[in-house]
Symmetry: D2
Subunit: 256 residues, 4 copies
């Protein structure tokens, strides 16, 4: 998909997202969106498509690292629960509690018993959140292994993306099928009436983002909510120019 | 400045920023950058210019809201201190402890005695951080009142930016001169050898960003640090395509 | 009950508690004990009876204040979940999530719908914790209103206890029956196989403490766990006396 | 010193401590007390003597464990700063930032350069707190090595105290002199006009506690502050006895 097409299609959705955020604030809603999927599928880009025009004090992205030893000894959901939104907030999880059913299962960081118990508990945990009034959305971003390989190669070659190439990514290359299987098991046991999964094809990332954002907006109730009227009288004097005393600005970067 | 010129000039700096972040991680450095300046000067955009290609798990933006009652009763620097980086991290403060010398002073949220004590303590506090090995950079972004008015008006008219228009912004419109005075006093008392201020002209925001990023990179020591070699063998089999069982992806967003 | 009888009876239990804490640490168990009950029943004293000989770095008492506005907007269990123990820890809750079924219900701080939903969710929430391996114990401390009145009066008259007399205590005096009713409803809906309640008569607080501690110890599995052998050789020199240079100790408090 | 003498002498001080806490709350003061000293000197007991009759929601004891790796990479004072009191609170530090000048120095957990920088920064850091209005008190508890040996031996032999015997304690036995030297250096460089040290002889722990509490109370300004009048009308009905339905209390612990 071309950049321009993408921007043209996204632009009106951006306005809807901003209106949605206003509605969330004014009505005290809480929104949680989980972004899961293949390595390199494009979770980060999808999150940015949702959040980039929103107030960063209202819309938080949560991307937790490896649990500390203390966290490993806690109730599994504890460290995620600490990041759930308060009234008026939107929280986007860049990977989430589902780590246990994905990377932890496939890479052997959790035992079968732990994974199994997790899959039993998830519907219960999520039901509690939904009953509490949280609007919960779960997206899984898919891509063919060919795309994954291309994107890993790009991370290797592009100095701007090199940091994205983690040892886990590399170790996971050969486990595409195991991840598929793990995903199917996860869907089988955690796709519920109260917290359904939505799968989005991210073989074309721009199209995937548009698909996801459109779907998210469509799942929300009517979020229209006019902004408050603001009185903006004339300044009533000549605007001042900056005048520096103690210290001067540095030289501007020269335009070629 | 044209978008294209801007992108062309920024591109090589992005690579330098990414290399710098690698150096920070590998050598365990800590970087703190404060972004202060006029309302609407472009702090948010400048922060994004620095952070957008960096690992969000390494480079954190700290944009604190109004202090809670408990925080108001604490040592003034306490809530900021909690966000200082650990080894390997970069923290960008979108407004900072200097609130007390700016908005709190001008809008009367702090007493003269509090502002005065703050200005006395800042050089001492910052010296402790710098002696502890933190690399601290302080930027103040300036713009003429005419620009400020244009940008406030744009926030009013552009639905994507309306949320940026805070009551404080409006109340501050008439206090351009008071902010100038407050800035001069702040510079006089907190522009130190160990933690100097850098003023950047943000009348043209794109040029301002280039100026700021270039300056930041130039202030750092040699941050060259080659990425680790990564072995990326051939996959050794035909790549798999996604095959969905339990649930199918939703329809792609239609390209016009 | 006489102080002396009490001490004599408690002494061996103290050793059992210390042994239990060692077992918790060595085996990585997690223990949660909830202390609920009438105002003035003696929750604080019961908690001290359990914790006073334990390592304060291992055994934590959690006594949360009024929720902040941000906390009020969150999932109800969120702020409690943040205090659950990690492996090797013991957490004693001085009042707990059951606030919603007690004081919040009786004093009208929560709506009927909130209380009702809470009572539905508690068994589910507690089941998750228990399945996760947490050893959960719930005590409710009862006392006749006559005792309650005496103890409130004592708080009023004893300068050491005056701070314990909260406005809520006073407002709750007339609602003894409503608290009884609320407790019955709570027991009916949250006394489960996996997280049963234990009621203890605290009309005599010393006896109540003995009863509670004995019951808690009896509910635990065999916690015998010998302390590690420690080699404690002779010092091999004359012990030094303190010798002060820069500063001398202050005068000792004179013994009459 | 006899238990009885001790209790008799402490009793009136307890009332003064409670009155002091009321004054702290009503006037929004902040109090910080650091407890440092020899291993086994009796820091824990001294802290309990101060805190035992105070509201645990107002008076907090801070006993930090070994720093995590993230904390080790931070500004040294950062993790302590997070525990400083807000208005109306009292914080008792069971060991404090002075760890760096004591155990960390003697046991080699910090480099000479780190210790040296710490000793330079402490007076500056503490001055900031004091200027901010925090009432800061620093106690160092001394005891002869003979006492220390006895108490270590007691920890070994008494099952209730065994957990107190840390490997660090044992390793430190032979370093009594090194600790003395470290203390002298610490006093030389951190006993300032604005944050003076007070040394207390804890060869007799009960007497030491009385000495310390008396000194603390004497250092405070006039803290008289009458409690608010409370209206405590007659109940106006026969008090209810507990009547249990769903569940009965368990059997009382039998008094012999």
């Amino acid at each position: 998909m071309k950049r321009k097409e993408y921007e043209t299609a996204l632009e009106p959705m951006r306005e809807e997202l901003v209106a949605m955020a206003r509605w969330v604030r004014v009505t005290g809603q809480r929104i949680v969106v989980l972004f899961e999927g293949r390595d390199t599928a494009g979770k980060g880009g999808a999150i940015r498509a949702v959040s980039e025009k929103l107030n960063p004090r209202q819309c938080h992205t949560v991307a937790l690292g490896t649990p500390t030893e203390a966290e490993q000894g806690q109730w599994y959901f504890q460290r995620y629960a600490g990041h759930l939104p308060t009234a008026g907030e939107i929280v986007l999880f860049d990977r989430s509690w589902y780590n246990r059913a994905g990377v932890e299962k496939v890479m052997g960081f959790a035992t079968d018993a732990q994974v199994n118990q997790f899959l039993d508990q998830v519907p219960v945990f999520e039901k509690m959140l939904v009953e509490d009034g949280i609007l919960l959305f779960k997206y899984w971003l898919g891509a063919d292994q060919e795309r994954q390989e291309e994107r890993l190669r790009e991370r290797l070659d592009d100095p701007l993306k090199r940091w994205k190439l983690s040892p886990i990514d590399l170790a996971a290359r050969g486990k595409y099928d195991a991840y598929t299987e793990a995903r199917e098991e996860m869907l089988r046991r955690t796709h519920t009436d109260w917290a359904p999964w939505t799968l989005v094809d991210f073989n074309d990332q721009k199209q995937g983002r548009l698909t996801l954002v459109r779907d998210l907006l469509d799942r929300l109730p009517d979020t229209r909510c006019d902004p408050a009227e603001i009185d903006f009288p004339a300044l009533g004097r000549e605007p001042e120019a900056e005048s520096y005393g103690v210290l001067k600005p540095i030289e501007n970067y020269p335009i070629a």
